[in-house]
């Protein structure tokens, strides 16, 4: 069930500001399990009845958008120029195929052949201004039949399961989080709970700000993915978190200094419930918590993240078991905070 939900979510396209397909899918999965509405920015706000009325309002947040690109113009030779949407490293997009606009026009990110590059420049990535997408058009007029400025540019998903329980796909950030929320909404919960499937996290947590305002929570749990650098040759805390060791709990990142009691509570709750969890061992990154903890008069906030390698690339890698551990911990914490 979880695997299928993650797969279906990752196979949908939804860069920041174009989350409609993700939202429609989520609505189809949660209808009948809760009340929901869409706010003016496109956030999907959910209220779920639990067995008991909550003493404190808890908001669980995950963002629907993914990184990608947007068409900015078409050159006279028919090549498409673009801007990045969110933090995309050029190193992971060159030489890949992409799909443009609602009709998914295929294109490729070209690169000058290695044969024509000076030996000393063989490892250099072209600068952003030199990147372009080739859709096979002969010239500008031909390209304009297929593409216009403002069209979204999406990576190919190619969702796959490999190795020992690993998943590989675009958009695991943060469809893994969305899948956790969907799973909790469809399950029986102890207490009433609010959820936000937020828009525009990748361009600066725009959606979470209004979602938190409208949800008025006392506590918030942000369900995210975060960098796992547990790759060849990297040891200790430099790994940030480790695939297979459960949800990573943050004490601080670039956007939030987390409530210390909640951080300790999260680790203690994991331990007492026999749920795998770990500490995110580096102050790096930022997420919706940055907007949520400053909402109204302040919200006690915690982030639990699925460890994810090659974040923001067309091929993110995480473990299914970590998504499940994250769900179990988030659900247990929601109960604790609602008491």
């Amino acid at each position: 069930m979880m695997l299928e939900t993650v797969r279906e979510l990752c196979n949908l396209n939804g860069i920041s500001g174009r989350e409609n397909r993700i939202r429609d899918y989520i609505i189809s999965k949660i209808t009948g399990y809760c009340e929901y509405k869409t706010d003016p920015l496109g956030n999907l706000l959910v209220f779920k009845k639990g067995k008991k009325t909550a003493n404190h309002t808890v908001l669980i947040d995950a963002h629907m958008d993914e990184v990608g690109m947007i068409v900015t113009g078409i050159d006279s030779d028919g090549c498409i120029r673009f801007a990045k949407v969110g933090g995309v490293d050029s190193r992971v997009i060159i030489g890949r195929n992409v799909y443009i606009g609602e009709n998914c026009v295929p294109g490729v990110l070209g690169i000058k052949p290695i044969h024509l590059i000076k030996k000393s420049e063989e490892g250099d990535i072209p600068s952003d201004k030199d990147l372009y997408i080739d859709i096979g058009a002969k010239n500008k007029e031909d390209a304009e039949k297929y593409v216009m400025p403002g069209d979204e540019i999406n990576f190919e998903s190619n969702f796959s399961v490999f190795g020992e329980g690993f998943l590989a796909s675009k958009a695991l950030d943060d469809r893994a989080g969305c899948a956790v929320l969907i799973d909790i909404i469809r399950s029986e919960t102890e207490y009433d709970c609010r959820f936000s499937f937020s828009v525009q996290e990748e361009i600066g947590t725009r959606g979470a700000a209004t979602a938190a305002f409208s949800s008025e929570p006392d506590y918030a749990i942000v369900v995210e993915t975060t960098t796992a650098a547990d790759i060849s040759g990297i040891k200790g805390a430099d790994r940030v978190c480790i695939c297979g060791d459960g949800g990573a709990v943050s004490f601080m990142d670039r956007s939030t200094v987390y409530n210390r009691d909640l951080y300790l509570k999260a680790l203690e709750t994991a331990k007492s419930n026999g749920i795998k969890a770990q500490t995110k061992t580096r102050v790096a990154g930022g997420n919706d918590a940055g907007a949520i903890h400053k909402s109204r008069g302040g919200v006690k906030t915690i982030t639990v993240s699925v460890p994810c390698r090659y974040l923001h690339s067309p091929c993110c890698v995480c473990k299914l078991e970590d998504i499940e551990s994250t769900r179990d911990l988030v659900k247990a914490l929601a109960t604790e905070f609602a008491k």
Binding site: D77, C79, D89, S90, R91, V92, I94, G95, R96, N97, V105, P106, G107, V108, G110, I111, K112, P113, I114, H115, L116, E122, G123, D124, I125, P126, S127, D130, Y132, D134, G136, A137, K138, A143, K145, Y146, E156, N158, S160, F162, G163, E164, F166, A168, T227, A229, I231, S232, G233, I234, D238, V240, R282, A284, R309, Y310, L311, S313, C315, V317
Partner: protein
Amino acid sequence: MSYEEVEVLLRKLCGADGTSGAEGNAATLACELLNEYMPAQFDALGNIIGFSGEGRSILLDAHIDQIGLIVTAVDEDGFVRVAAVGGADRRVMPAARVTIHGKEKIPGVVTSTPPHLAGPDDEGKVPPFDKITIDIGMTKEQADLLVSPGDRITMNGSFIRLAGNRIASPCVDDRAGVASVLRCLQLLKGKKTCKLDVMFSAQEETGGSGAATGAFNAQSDEAIAIDVTFAKAPDTGSGIFANLGDGALVGYGPSLDYAMSKKLSSIARENGIASSPEAMGGRTGTNGDDIQTAGKGIRTALISIPIRNMHTAVEVVDLADIEETARLLAAYILERSANDA
């Protein structure tokens, strides 16, 4: 024109895998396809070679191998270390999907260093191949059961139909050439020709060993190598003149037989086949170089098909250029055969 025949051939050929020295199912497929026209077999180095007809002989060559990577070791963390096979491009490696052809096909992802571990000198750079590893989601113990040094690795990619008649796919270099030769044989079906020696050569990307030995064995009277060349793109700069869709590029250069080059150009003109001259100052960088000096020497010509993004998983080709190359080959063979008779 729909170019359906060419598209079918190219799609089949690009869907097969065959890195240099392990041409694998690409070679098997090419052998089967060639067998439809003439008896074809493998030689000692893995070339596929077929002979048909009598009299003066023309060798048609296109290489079947593709660039890739090769496993050098599995490290203690279970990640796979690699070296390049042929001129693989490390700039397109980070976070790329690959397939390791081990005891079974094993999916993997090329690791990419997260920003927090990158130093100031790493900005905009990609590490060399000896620092690149592949994530197969296994421990060393698990990996050792399936992956061994020497296993080949191919870049994953899709066969994508772009606008017009353009295709993006891995290993268009040189399956486009192989497709043009097979399409030429289709066009010649039922027609009387001189002796045809057809070679789908191994190991071009690692230095042309296949073509050298295959051409020695064939002892043909003349040869035409068919390979890909650089097509103009927004970033290729001055010195690259070929446009996608302009047709077959007839090679002119010191190592190529001038009379053959001129004949190819005039036959193209007479038959309304799109073509342009492509000149080079020395050797051609193709199998043509190795065929020319095989045995006592073979008069050699070169026809090139322009592609963009060479040596990536998104090589772009115009089907029209493959079709025009096939038509030019067929017209040349028919003219030579008529003169023979």
